[in-house]
Amino acid sequence: MWIAVIAASLGCYVEKLAGYLLPHSVLENAALRRVAGLLPVALLAALVAVQTFGVGQSLTIDARAAGLAVAILALIARAPFLVVVISAALTAALLRMLGWAS
């Protein structure tokens, strides 16, 4: 675990540093800029999906889906980050406490 933590951290730092060491003209590469903008969208969307419906290698609908729905409503209402996260957690915790979802 420690090796992964350190390797991932160093890699992320090198990515930042690389931007300062590379020639500025790299920025003019439109394809590179486009991929850099689209990557976070694709990865974050995939993470949301897998972490809401995935249990190991199987898919399921449980209290997390209700939590995500509440989080999306909170985002539409422009709620601050902490409200979004806590409302999702509370929704899931409440549904489990009442025995309505696993």
Binding site: M1, I3, A4, V5, I6, A7, A8, S9, G11, C12, Y13, K16, L17, A18, G19, Y20, L22, H24, L27, A30, A31, A36, L38, L39, P40, V41, A42, L43, L44, A45, A46, L47, V48, A49, V50, Q51, T52, F53, G54, G56, Q57, S58, L59, A63, R64, G67, L68, A71, F81, L82, V84, V85, S87, A88, A89, T91, A92, A93, R96, M97
Partner: protein
Amino acid sequence: MPETTWRGPITSKAVGIGVATAAYALSFGAISVASGLDVWQTQTLSLLMFTGASQFAMVGIIGAGGGLLAAVLTAWLLGARNSIYALSMAPLHRVRGPKRLAAAQLTIDETTAMALAHNEDESHSRYAFWITGVTLFVLWNIGTLLGAVGAAALGDPAALGLDAAMPAAMMALLWPRLVDRTMWAVALVAAALALVLTPVLRPGLPVLAAALVALVASALLGRRSA
């Protein structure tokens, strides 16, 4: 303009961003511990990695039972945008040595946005970058520690709904990026692909595969504009 006039508003904006970010950090600390990292590993990520989306992704994949390699690769892929930010910030930090190394570590979404928002003058832009970066770094790490120690004391993550906090936090990071139909299409296709691949690949790999959606979409967009 005297320094006192323009510094005030920039500083208060930086503190505002810092406080909001401390809230992210609290949830990161809590979720990380719930995912199986200890308090020290969690804190190391906030000190050394210091880029929110990569940190959330890394602990999320580890928590879901994904391989460590997939977790590391996903963190790197998410951190790639910082290279682009650094390229655009480079002219601002022409200094060499330790100050440039520190500037690199602080080059993330918020500091770049603040520097670009105040580019009416290079000294304003530089001040916005540093004040936002330092405020954020301090509050991000304090928030992480409080969240991690708090969650370690609380107990069962599922009963607290912490497993539902994770996708909600990711969604909150994704939401402001969904600015047009292209972004929505990429997000929906990536999500669908990751779900379809979940039963056939090890946890963590479906998310990495979704990175291909970004590459394909970029190629298609490039062909259309050419």
